[in-house]
Amino acid sequence: MTTYGTVAVIIYLLLSPVIACTLSGVDRVVTARMQGRRGPKLMQPWYDLVKLFSKETTSVNDIQKILVMAHCFFAIFSGAIFFAGGDVMLVLFALTMSEVFLILAAYSVNAAYSEIGAQRELLQMMAYEPMTLLTAVGFYLATGSFKVDKIISTDLPLIIKMPGFFIGFCFVLVVKLRKSPFDLSTSHHANQEIIKGLTGDLSGPVYGFSELAELYEEVLMLGIVGLFFMTKEPVSLLWAFIAIAVVMFCMSLIDNIFPRVKWEALLKAAWLVTFFAGGANLVILSLAERM
């Protein structure tokens, strides 16, 4: 692990919740302004999170809590691999494992709404996983490596070689960040989920852990967005931040202007976008690399 990697991991581990909460706060303020409201305080998501951990711990059964904690652990773990400059593929696999634990936690409570959430989460995974995997393949084809520290040492930003992958990835990012328009396993908008779905039976600190995991995951996802814009020049970090800001703004916009769409459409749309945007880019990149 390089010095930069160590610093990045430490920053990631310590600051991710704050960064993600701030982003989420900005998102809420922006959304409110779009709707002509004042909106909450900027740090409201942070206060919400902290409050969760001050509540009494209750759980439905013996395994729920440990499963959620495992979920949180592996989510943080996968992000740590990423920021340490590790293998993107391994990051994605670790992230999948963390998702599996959350789904198992939802299954374990044996309740209808959690179960619906679990099924939807599974479907969501099925919808976005091809695209995330393809994105990793794209990075490999474009740079010859799956390792993040090698990927960021290119001459030109990868977005030039990988516009299709970027579009596809942003599409699934909408799902990953639990935004409109699709019906989701759980989200912050009541119109997109059924009685909180996946996390419906989590409460207090246990719920806090699942929220925490989500924050870390968000930072990781935005990190991948940034990867498209990074080069070996340090100044590219600035471009990456700008790109992330633009993407986040677009997410808020999409969240506000789209109507609600059913889960069947999610699967179809995500796979079609993956196939056409990701697939086409894959073909071109693969042919170009072979020349």
């Binding site: 759980s59 439905v60 809590k65 593929m89 696999f93 999948t96 044996n110 099925m126 084809l141 090698k150």
Partner: protein, 662 residues
């Protein structure tokens, strides 16, 4: 040599004796367990002996002069044909006669006229053989041990079927013997003989319950495999008469000029595709579900289907960049994807396993078809892990069925409280199949890298989509097991000692294999690949895009696709997963308030129902999603089979025309 002869012949001898022990007795159970353990011990001894005393790099060759043995084999082939004929006439399936005669008569002709006689060695032992001997010897023998307890329960539950358990055990052992023969044969005619034994044997095992369904399914398995056998025969005729060679190792010498051997390789691959139940031949493996579970476990994990992919992996160096390669990769990749979608839509546990087997075999097939060292590395790893994990899954589903009378995934709801031991095994099995620090997924990852490097874009796409749907069906099964119903009592499972004797060692093996992953790679898989691909080494160097520092094989010497650093990270993940159960104790040591799950209505107190607005109790029933209207068998199976058939016909025609006339 004596050990190898023992490995092949001993199961046949055991089968012969068991055939006459019709009554279930302590003595017979003891004999079965003893024979299985002897076979297991022999295969382990064989592996160690080979490592210590033989030159595995070049392979050890045995039996060059085999006139007498050839005659025995000819007689054996004739008997097999007669057996098939008698069954075909008995059940009035006359097309079988044609298929069987087409495959066997040329074989007899070649043998009896001495055309295929050769001074080349008939048996060959190298790294891949040893790997396969260990897989068949360990997994196969454990399945036989498992069968002892299982078949007793099976006949207690199914009194409508005639108890022919002596015959059943006999067939299981014949299978083991045939498999051992198949993997150690270098001579194509010998291999063909063992190949046909497994076809006929699987036919007899599938037909064991003797119901209408079983008969239909067994004949389906038979005709598909005999058709593959005909392809095998065509390859042998071409090799013997045109190329004047008799052995696989001789055929592999053509790897530098694969165009010369396109016809035999194409035909052998075709045979392998039927045996490994690739689309469009996938239906026989699903039909095999009617048989008792040990049969399914044996067919699916250690033997039969593995014979097909074994042959493909052997032929892999011949397939790089040829039509055959395109055919095999496309069929394999497509099967991987389509079968994983179909697995989502079924709830019968054994059927899910069957589709998952077909799917995983598709991946191995695709890896073999790439014809690149890294892909074959992944293929062999997949083969090993799949054998261990899948047999374990089958056994636990079978044990669950004998305990509860159902093998439906829906009925496994809350298994973690009711049958904790079986649930534990199944959880390890499912994790082993689907998530990353465990074996299967790591091999899949390596396969993905190889596919990207090989430039087969469609394989990359198939793999990305297919692994997403694979995740779906495994996780929902796991979820069912983990659903904790309040107040559910632990049930007494009726799993026999012999069944645990097989299940536990396999479970332990599955976990240990993950830990010693790099060792298997260094000492068994990589050396084999170095040799197999040495003839085509130059070709590989130019085909791989760059950057050898990534752990990607830029030459055959570093055929390891995953870097040491990644292995360390995965080791950490594995350890984290192992300490989870301990962590649970710690987390729960603080006494906290238990709440009821949220039902929208007032929970009745045991998480199983709620009071509705009228104050009446509404029971809840939770079911997984199967999405039959999107991927259902009725909806996509037929188009998939037709697509695969059309493609296969076109490619086989191309191979035949190209191989014979150009």
């Amino acid at each position: 040599m004596p050990v190898l002869a023992f490995l092949i012949l001993f199961p046949f001898a055991a089968a012969f004796i068991l055939f006459f022990l019709k009554k279930d007795s302590k003595g017979r159970s003891f004999l079965v367990i003893f024979c299985a353990l002897a076979e297991l011990a022999a295969s382990v001894y064989f592996a160690i002996d080979n490592y210590l005393h033989h030159d595995m790099e070049m392979g050890t060759y045995y039996l060059s002069d085999t006139h007498t043995a050839d005659m025995f084999i000819a007689a054996g082939e004739f008997c097999l044909m007669l057996l098939v004929f008698s069954q075909a006439i008995r059940f009035k399936k006359y097309y079988i006669l044609l298929l069987s005669a087409l495959g066997t008569i040329p074989a007899l002709y070649l043998d009896l006229m001495g055309i295929s006689e050769t001074t080349a060695s008939h048996l060959k032992v190298d790294h891949l053989t040893v790997i396969m001997v260990l897989v068949v010897g360990i997994v196969g023998s454990l399945i036989c041990i498992y069968a002892v307890g299982y078949i007793r329960d099976y006949h207690n539950h199914h009194t409508e079927y005639r108890d022919r358990s002596g015959y059943f055990f006999s067939m299981l052992f014949v299978f083991l013997g045939a498999m051992m023969g198949l993997i150690s044969s270098d001579n194509l005619s010998w291999m063909y003989f063992f190949w046909e034994i497994t076809s006929v044997c699987s036919f007899l095992l599938i037909g064991y319950p003797q119901t209408q369904e079983a008969v239909t399914n067994s004949f389906r398995a038979l005709w598909m495999n005999l058709l593959g056998g005909c392809g095998f025969m065509a390859a042998i005729i071409f090799c013997v008469c045109v190329m004047e060679i008799t052995n696989i190792s001789q055929l592999l010498l053509f790897a530098a000029i694969p165009a010369m051997a396109i016809f035999p390789v194409g035909m052998l691959s075709f045979a392998a595709l039927t045996k490994s139940a690739q689309m469009p031949f996938s239906r026989w493996l699903l039909g095999a579900m009617v048989a008792p579970t040990p049969t399914s476990a044996l067919l699916h994990s250690a033997t039969m289907v593995k014979a097909g992919v074994y042959l493909l992996l052997r032929l892999s160096p011949m397939m790089y960049g040829t039509y055959v390669g395109i055919m095999v990769t496309a069929i394999g990749g497509f099967t991987f994807f389509a079968a994983s979608l179909l697995a989502i839509t079924v709830s019968d546990g054994k059927k899910v396993l069957a589709y998952s087997t077909i799917s995983n075999l598709g991946l191995i097939t695709a890896a073999a078809g790439c014809g690149m060292s890294e892909a074959v590395w992944a293929g062999i790893m997949l083969l090993i892990f799949h054998a261990v994990t899948k047999s374990m899954m089958f056994m636990s589903v079978g044990a669950y069925e004998n305990s509860t009378g159902s093998r439906d995934v829906e009925d496994m709801h809350g298994m973690i409280l009711r049958y904790p031991k079986l649930a534990f095994v199944m959880t390890i099995g499912i994790f082993g199949m689907s998530v990353v620090p465990m074996g299967m997924c790591v091999a899949k990852w390596a396969a993905l890298r190889a596919f990207v490097d090989s430039g087969y874009i469609y394989l990359t796409l198939f793999l990305c989509f297919g692994s997403a749907s694979t995740m779906f069906y495994w996780t929902k099964w796991l979820g069912k097991i983990f659903s904790v119903s309040r107040e559910s009592a632990r049930h007494e499972d009726t799993v026999h000692g012999s069944e645990w004797t097989a299940i536990y060692p396999l479970t332990v093996t599955a976990v240990i294999l993950c830990l010693v992953y790099p060792l298997i790679s260094t000492f068994a898989v990589t050396p084999y690949i170095q040799n197999a691909f040495s003839g085509s080494l130059n070709r590989l160097v130019t085909s791989v895009p760059a950057d050898s520092s990534l752990g990607i094989a830029s030459n055959a010497e570093t055929a390891q696709a995953i870097s040491t650093e990644d292995f360390i990270i995965m080791g950490v993940m594995l350890i984290c997963m192992c300490i989870l159960p301990l962590g649970m104790k710690y987390v729960n040591s603080v006494q906290e308030r238990r709440v009821l799950s949220y039902m929208s209505g007032f929970n009745t107190g045991n998480d199983r129902g709620f009071y509705d607005s009228q104050g009446e109790i509404k029971e809840q029933y939770l079911s997984n999603w199967y999405m039959p209207d999107i991927f259902g068998e009725g909806k996509i199976l037929k188009p998939c089979l037709m697509l695969a058939s059309a493609f296969l016909i076109v490619m086989m025609t191309a191979c035949t025309v190209g191989g014979l006339f150009i």
